[in-house]
Symmetry: C2
């Protein structure tokens, strides 16, 4: 990964918007994208919709909805016939990958105003059909043996418990925290707090993970407008990286170490010129509670075996030293695959702007996101900073 | 579309490679991508595979093959764990859209060496299943009425015949020319010449189009390595553009005018600073013979109603004034959706390098490609030039 040349454009987030994530909706894919895009444009300084490129993040409209080429559906709907448009897929990290595609469009001078829209409408598929689509992420060799993403989550959680013996349910504490945060987010799929007992008593899915350890299937869309021109209150994209990991989980030397996360994290820190102590707020990829724990360790915020304790002791709560997923994370905000990476970024933008009413992290000027494809096949990181932040 | 800033990196094609396109193959998606990538890397000056980013162009592995995240499958296969990777989809223009994504990765300084790999393995699906997947390109409103891409082809060909009354079969002449060219291309799906009688006597598909007016379903992969550093014999990416058109064909004021093609053509010319007379060779998107005709007119190479005559009179043959699809086009080289846009670019690179043995266009120093999504939902253009060309 080469560092960005000094002479390419700096990229700013000029506007953000999203739909509420839900278990199902009457809205079509085009409706969802249109609503999120309209909200991002209304939130921006863009006059007369002077968008020059559209980048859609979506994992599997082919499978869930029998549609392809969503970018070519969205552009005319927004009255933007003639613009540059494409769609980026990176399984469950499609949203963040589309964001990076937009970043490069602006940085390269192709587009002075890039609209990135993430979307997934999972409710159009029956549950077993949806499970099959999500299973397409898994390496064919492992897929043939019946392995699924939740089964990997269970394996990793099991090994984490064996190795570090977290007290009580130090993994389930992630679900409790993220539901508490989601209850304060009007865009969240789940807006109800849950107790640790509720998590522990819920249906086993992949031992030791239970229903409340796993993010839901959701419908929703999230959009960001990127520009090369800063405005008052703009947020700067200070770092952005993607790294491929080993595809087959069996090929990993340690199941608790996700190489893609480590590499993408280091790259984003280097690009931004910051260190861990500069980060005020994080959006992590808690598709499974155990992932938030191992990601905190893989990114280097905690030593291996220490993130469960930090979670139990409230360090990652909104009022803690390192707030993680103040918007509820994938667990409570919901996980419409292609929209998630952008929702993570939007939460950080709201936090940096001081607009996260009811769940605002104090004095947030630097935020970071991590969106993960599959179980670490790829990891996408961004570092976002206030334009006048020192970092 | 803003023009590129002068201070971003210039982008060069450093290596190209592809598999032979075929009706079916025992090779897996990973095998196909790996072969094309290996050939592009072997063809390049890249030492030790110092690739920094991978961009896969693929339309519908979810539908055809039940797989997603092909980029995360390819990277470890090439020994490139840790690199940046994503996948771009733009229906039948996915290959060229992935190319533009790679161009922006290099231009923005993100990647000094971007590997772009297009692939589709259509033979994994039954024919009616494949037809359904391809139908997902069509606007839902028109799709609900049973309209398909071939039916649009028939409607446009019918209107062209009514308006311009081409003599004989001035549209079928495209198939004859492209089969003649494909017979000289060892990578082509079809390597057999066909007579005009064969075209005219073939099975009607969408009146007046017949079987031989339509490109086949194919399996194959094509790859290009892009860099910011020119080498001897490198080809420069002088222009690249994408434009969305009206999605529903019924919304077009004139079925013979494809707005996306016109806009993307103008943009690429402007970026490259060239005019029509500078272009020595073209790769056009002849998914249907009629498309090559209306594209030549839409790009401004011929007046409306004049491209059929140029074709009949041999102006677009390899020895003509403006050779079009010397590699056989989609019609004869084949049309593995996500690979096509890159195969079009590779043919131009071979022509500019003087390596198109048996089908070499004389003195080619500037070439242009047009890859079309659906029936003009989106159009992607590139202009490629010899590094020392005057244009």
């Amino acid at each position: 990964m080469s560092s960005r040349e000094a002479d390419t454009n700096t990229v700013y987030v000029d506007g953000v918007g999203m739909t509420r994530f839900r278990g199902s909706t009457e809205d079509t894919l085009a409706d969802l994208m249109g609503t999120a895009a309209d909200r991002a444009l209304d939130d921006s300084t863009s006059e007369g919709r002077d968008v020059e490129s559209i980048h859609v993040g979506n994992m599997a409209a082919e499978g869930f909805n029998g549609r392809s080429g969503l970018q070519n559906l969205l552009a005319p709907k927004l009255g933007l016939t003639g613009v540059f448009a494409d769609r980026v897929e990176n399984t469950s990290a499609s949203g963040a990958s589309a964001f990076l595609r937009g970043v490069d469009a602006v940085a390269s001078g192709r587009s002075d105003s890039a609209l990135v829209v993430g979307v997934e409408k999972m409710s159009d598929a029956e549950t077993d059909e949806a499970t099959g689509i999500i299973g397409s992420i898994v390496h064919q060799r492992e897929h043939n043996h019946g392995l699924t993403l939740p089964s990997f989550g269970g394996l990793v959680a099991s090994e984490y418990q064996r190795r570090y013996e977290p007290e009580g349910d130090g993994i389930g504490a992630v679900a409790v925290k993220n539901h508490e945060n989601g209850a304060k987010n009007p865009y969240a799929h789940f807006q109800n707090p849950v107790s640790l007992e509720t998590v522990q008593d819920s249906r086993p899915i992949a031992d030791p993970l239970r229903l409340y350890d796993i993010s839901p299937m959701s419908d929703g869309s999230a959009a960001v407008l990127l520009t090369s021109t800063p405005r008052d209150g703009a947020v700067r994209v200070a770092g952005s990286a993607s790294a491929v990991g080993t595809h087959a989980i069996a090929d990993r030397s340690d199941p608790l170490e996700i190489e893609s996360v480590e590499i993408a994290g280091t790259s984003a820190f280097e690009q931004a010129g910051i260190d861990h102590e500069d980060v005020d707020v994080l959006s992590l990829h808690d598709a499974f509670t155990i992932l938030e724990v191992v990601e905190l360790e893989g990114l280097g915020f905690y030593e291996p075996g220490d993130a469960w304790r930090a979670t139990v002791e409230g360090e990652t709560a909104i009022q803690g030293e390192l707030p993680v997923n103040p918007g509820g994370g994938l667990k409570a905000r919901g996980h419409p695959l292609g929209a998630t990476g952008l929702a993570q970024i939007i939460e950080i933008v709201w936090q940096l702007r001081g607009e996260a009413s009811g769940r605002q992290v104090a004095d947030a000027s630097v935020g970071m996101t991590l969106n993960v494809a599959g179980f670490g096949n790829n990891a996408i990181t961004t570092v976002l900073t206030e334009v006048n932040a020192d970092a």
